[in-house]
């Protein structure tokens, strides 16, 4: 927990003023202003940058969404999934199928594809939740493999060779890229804010309780399974959005790449490097991962070796990640409460 709760049953010596309980502080207010400024700049960016930059940034936004979703699962829900590529793929394929085969407007098809992901995740959770811990992790992976193998059999979306997103073909590339960029930025902002608001809600409190002590949370009346299922469904929808973003950006979907377990590796590395269990961590992790990807690109496979080693070392040495190095002094998204003297 980031905040400090008053100890249960703590008594206050007579003659002192009650402590002031507050959420956030000066750093959060400064941070909020800074973030609004950053988003404003990002909104304006297509008017002053190349198409290549916009395409690159959509890649970064998808990393932000993926990291945030994986952090929601693992950092807040306590579920390690290595099968989120199932929903990335369904989101990507959903966009192509809805827009190309059913003629839906692609910008409308993106949220619809995310809803489809949520609808698939809900019954799937009943199977996956029969497993816990590491076995849950591999179970989600099997589910992703099943989805991949099934999609490979569907001729309507190009079976094993994949399909192209042709719905944008009437649009000038300049506009198409800018629209996709704005859509992706919107999705990234909505997803991050959405998780922030979720964690400030009652459900967020329940999730924190589950993460800290599942047995106690269950006996104190928190519906553990329901909260975890909600997280699983939301994370699936979020990963679906990311998948749709990726396909809208590259205009191409292939079962081998969109269902690749490498996405899970990316998500895990982003969250571990940035800092698990915080809203800010995945943001930092996504940016670091994005920069590393750029600088280490010529290293080929060594790049994943380096990132993997970094993630292992961070897990063992600094389990709270880069954001943890701030030791809670900086808090952009205040979830917990602080207790301090009044005034």
């Amino acid at each position: 927990m980031t905040g400090v709760q008053p100890a249960a049953g703590a008594t206050r010596p007579a003659g002192t003023t009650p402590p002031k309980v507050r959420r956030g502080g000066r750093s959060a207010r400064i941070g909020a202003v800074a973030m609004v400024a950053v988003v404003a700049v990002l909104v304006y960016l297509p008017f002053m940058s190349s198409r290549g930059t916009q395409i690159d940034l959509v890649g970064l936004f998808s990393l932000v969404v993926l990291g945030t979703m994986w952090n929601l699962l693992a950092g807040y829900g306590g579920m390690i999934s290595i099968g989120q590529q199932a929903f990335i793929g369904i989101g990507g394929y959903g966009l192509v199928y809805l827009a190309t085969n059913l003629g839906l407007d692609p910008f409308l098809a993106v949220p619809v594809a995310a809803v489809v992901c949520g609808l698939v995740a809900w019954p799937t959770s009943y199977l996956a939740f029969r497993l816990t811990g590491g076995y849950f992790a591999i179970g989600t992976w099997v589910i992703a493999e099943v989805v991949r193998l099934l999609v490979t059999q569907v001729d309507a979306v190009g079976a094993g060779s994949g399909a192209s997103l042709t719905a944008f073909s009437g649009l000038d590339p300049v506009f198409r890229i800018a629209y996709v960029y704005w859509m992706s930025l919107t999705i990234a902002v909505v997803v991050v804010l959405g998780v922030y608001l979720l964690m400030r809600s009652r459900t967020g409190l329940a999730l924190t309780a589950i993460r800290d002590d599942p047995t106690a949370a269950a006996s104190s009346g928190v519906a553990v399974d329901r909260a975890k299922r909600l997280v699983y469904v939301v994370a699936a929808a979020g990963c679906g959005l990311a998948g749709a973003m990726i396909v809208a950006n590259t205009l191409r979907v292939q079962p081998g790449s969109i269902f690749s377990v490498d996405y899970s590796a990316m998500m895990i590395f982003i969250v571990v490097i940035g800092g698990i269990g915080t809203i800010e961590g995945p943001l930092v992790g996504a940016i670091v991962f994005y920069l590393l990807q750029d600088t280490l690109a010529e290293l080929g496979n060594w790049y994943l070796v380096v990132v993997g080693v970094v993630a292992v070392v961070i897990t063992l040495v600094a389990p709270k990640g880069l954001w943890g190095l701030t030791r809670g002094r900086v808090e952009l998204f205040p979830v917990g409460y602080r207790v301090g003297p009044r005034g």
């Binding site: 390690i80 179970g139 496979n301 994943l304 993997g308």
Partner: protein
């Protein structure tokens, strides 16, 4: 006849799946961690055997004499250097560390050996078979591989049931703190368990690599098949795992008999079906070990 053949081949393959799974179960039983690098470590062993074959001309069987102890030593060191630390970091840390390790090893293999598919060469023996009836033949090598799987699993079972260290592992699995009060050094025991797990997975890796082709990414399916064998059979039961491996192998064989593309999928679907209707597996043990 095709069906009978598929079943027979599936049964033989199941023995190897169970062998991979046995190490996964052992580590989980003793330390309650799932080693997500388990599959890629089997592949690493296969590449080790490949190197010995290329440079020294060693037969895969002969290479086991070096690969198995080397992998066991690696397991011991890995436990001492990385996993012990990860165990102290809570529930998520061992998963994150072993997954990171899997990615690192896989990409190191990719960088060293390229993505080309490889196969270990067991010589003329690899193609020899016993003709049972017209159209049904059992290859000597798959038979030997399955027998090795059953033998190692039986040996592991005897080790856990009869030896002082095996008993200590079961005791630690039941109650780690109480086991320490009996004088059991749990850290040493963990390292021994991981060493045994990697020794057995090395055997499995070399046999799998001789039976069919592999590449650096083969660790993923190896881990998944082993996991499916464990869950189908029932957690904590070695013989259940063997049954689970056989069921998985047969499902894959029958699926592939219908259409080669359905083999792996059929295995996954049987796994999901077991998870849905019999989540404790086909042969659940009374107490999870």
């Amino acid at each position: 006849m095709n069906t009978v053949n598929a079943v027979v081949q599936g049964v033989l393959l199941g023995g190897l799946y169970a062998l991979v799974a046995a190490g996964l179960s052992l580590v989980f039983g003793v330390m309650r961690i799932v080693n997500l690098a388990h599959g890629v470590l089997a592949v690493l062993a296969a590449y080790g055997s490949l190197l010995l074959g290329e440079h020294l001309g060693w037969n895969p069987f002969l290479s086991l004499l070096v690969v198995v102890p080397a992998m066991a030593a690696l397991g011991y060191a890995l436990q001492r250097a990385l996993l012990d630390r990860a165990l102290r970091g809570g529930e998520l840390a061992p998963l994150l560390v072993t997954f990171g390790l899997a990615i690192v090893i896989q990409n190191l293999l990719l960088e060293t050996f390229s993505a080309d598919t490889q196969r270990l060469d067991v010589g003329a023996f690899g193609g020899a078979s016993i003709e049972l009836t017209d159209g049904l033949a059992i290859g000597w090598f798959p038979l030997l591989a399955a027998a090795a799987g059953v033998l190692v699993i039986a040996g592991l079972g005897q080790f856990l049931a009869r030896t002082r260290t095996g008993r200590a592992m079961r005791a630690t699995s039941d109650d780690q703190e109480a086991a320490q009060l009996m004088g059991i050094d749990n850290r040493r025991l963990y390292a021994v368990a991981t060493a045994i797990a990697l020794g057995t997975v090395a055997i499995a890796g070399v046999f799998l690599g001789s039976r069919s082709t592999f590449d650096p990414s083969a660790g993923a399916t190896t881990l998944i098949f082993a996991f499916e064998a464990v869950v189908i059979g029932g957690l904590g039961s070695l013989w259940g795992t063997l049954l689970g491996g056989v069921v998985l192998g047969v499902a894959q064989g029958l699926g592939a008999a219908i259409d080669p593309a359905y083999g792996v999928l059929a295995g996954h679907l049987v796994f999901l079906a077991v998870l849905a209707v019999r989540p404790r597996g086909l042969l659940p043990s009374a107490v999870t070990a």
